[in-house]
Subunit: 196 residues, 4 copies
């Protein structure tokens, strides 16, 4: 029977290799070497290279969902919930460089497969943002005329762009906390000065 341990090892190795080289430049043998496994062994656990990529997402983003869900469960205030989501995402991206790169590099690589995939686990993650907005609107805390879907895209787009800039190596002179606060603040009260 296939060992779940080896499955995990391969996923971890693939996450690292994809992050370092990008999906197309990563070779199966790189992943095999990183996982200390024979090339052929990988095909006992995955159908093909692309399947590995999908599994990396399932696994890693599943973890993200679990983690942030746990944090959000303890809080009722939508304002704070949004802040928690933002802070958690940024912190994770800063910590888990591999996942960050896999998301922002590989998520756009292509193609129908990814597109279909995105209707699954990853969209579940994004849906959390929309649901926070909706709860806030129901609670009268957020403006009703905001479309939760658009706001969700804004939030994720903003966060993902931030993490991309971090990992591109351009110096970013701000701490995670500062960035988190600024984004939260802009989202909450906008950029206008009081009398405008």
């Amino acid at each position: 029977m296939k060992s779940p341990d080896k499955h995990r090892k391969i996923i971890r190795a693939a996450t690292k290799v994809f992050a370092k080289k990008g999906f197309f430049n990563a070779r199966i043998s790189d992943i095999a070497k990183e996982a200390k496994v024979a090339d052929g062994t990988i095909y006992l656990y995955f159908n093909n290279k692309f399947d590995i990529l999908l599994s990396v997402f399932e696994q890693e983003i599943g973890k993200l969902i679990d983690q942030v869900s746990l944090l959000l469960k303890k809080e009722d205030n939508p304002k704070i919930k949004l802040e928690i989501f933002i802070t958690n995402h940024l912190e994770e991206m800063k910590k888990n460089r591999y996942l960050a790169e896999v998301i922002h590099i590989e998520l756009r690589q292509t193609s129908k497969l990814i597109r279909e995939y995105r209707k699954n686990t990853f969209n579940e993650y994004l849906a959390i943002i929309a649901s926070i907005i909706e709860q806030g609107q129901e609670a009268g805390v957020f403006r009703k005329e905001i479309e939760p879907e658009i706001a969700r895209q804004m939030v994720f787009g903003a966060l993902d762009e931030i993490s991309r800039c971090w990992h591109i190596g351009n110096d970013c002179p701000f701490t995670t906390e500062e960035v988190s606060q600024q984004i939260t603040s802009i989202l909450q009260v906008g950029i206008l000065a009081p009398n405008n």
Copy 2:
């Protein structure tokens, strides 16, 4: 003398092919066929496959810069300038599906070349956003505690995520105008309801 017409034809073809298949899945012969030239002809105008990608950016993003610069020149109010930038970007992405895909798919290829490249033309485009924010702060229209760099990332990230969702084929029930207004509005006054 190498014909500038052919150069343009190849760029156009490459934009289309990269958008449809992604950089790595695009074949030189695909581009050649699309441009109705021989494979070898491409190498009279470009050094290699990657050079084509860079040229596509230079060309297309140069156009974007020119266009939005022209529009912004006519306006002084930073609030409206920001709206103009947002609207123009979204409209262009909606219209020029190929450019949109090339940006959001290919901009993420890990590559020193792209990284270096991004310090050039593309960053020029992004710098426009930051400068609008700064002008607004100087004019007292935007909050001074906003970091223009972070806001810039938020804006571009949001817009890029929007355009990605459009082209991914997920139904987006909103018009360009609605999206543009919502984003502008969130950025300007935030998402909080009046008394929060």
Copy 3:
């Protein structure tokens, strides 16, 4: 573990193909077909096409060195040693048509690699000639004013030109033995008639 058998098969095939077509006209797929392996298999055993050429030399010339060294060990007389070298080389070239062609065709490829290479195994082979001359001089059998290096070049040049003519297809009406004796004789006593 990569099979040494396959390594040998490829070397043998390459020797044949290089001899038949020359290095530049030889195709990797020709070698693969001749060796009855897949094209890609060749790259499990060699780094690139040029590496195959070098290996052919290492292998084949190594064999030549071993063989002639063995023969020379049994003999002390420098006169006879020289004759042995000459005869052995000519016999081998006559027998091993492929090696002969590889030497005289490929040895002349301008290439830093080959030049560096020649300082290794092949030059070892040539050095045998020089050392025979030197021994002869020490023993007082050969004239002391002969430069061993120049004589060495003469000997090898002569032998290589002979073998080239054989394989070029021009009829050569002499047996290996006759040629061997003539060359040995010219080298030993020159071409002058007794009273000149």
Copy 4:
């Protein structure tokens, strides 16, 4: 009408380029650039790349033949004639690096075409050596049992190997004169010390 001047310019350029890069690594455009002529122009004067190579030989070796023939005409003594041939060849090879490389690199490149060619002008050059030997034998100066064909091969092989070593960049601590004398001496009186 095709200009003989341009024909000569291309030959000269090709000699240089072939010598520098070898036949297979030389590109038609290299030759065209060196000759300050358009690529296409070359095909007005030559049928194909290989034809250029043949023409280079015809031309350059023709010159060699003329030159050495002139020198030999003035001399009757076969001993001296042989010395003249040897000295002249070595001097030319030392002077005309391009021709030297073209001979020793390209002469072995390959193939049926070259082989047929060699029955022409180049063999004429080699025949000069044989005829000197024959004259010497008739005059009783050279041993009758020497086969002129074999001696010819020895002479040319020796000379060509010398010139190859020169151009390979290996240090050769001897002057042209020394080499010439040593080779002449070995050929004439052999390498044996007086009493052997």
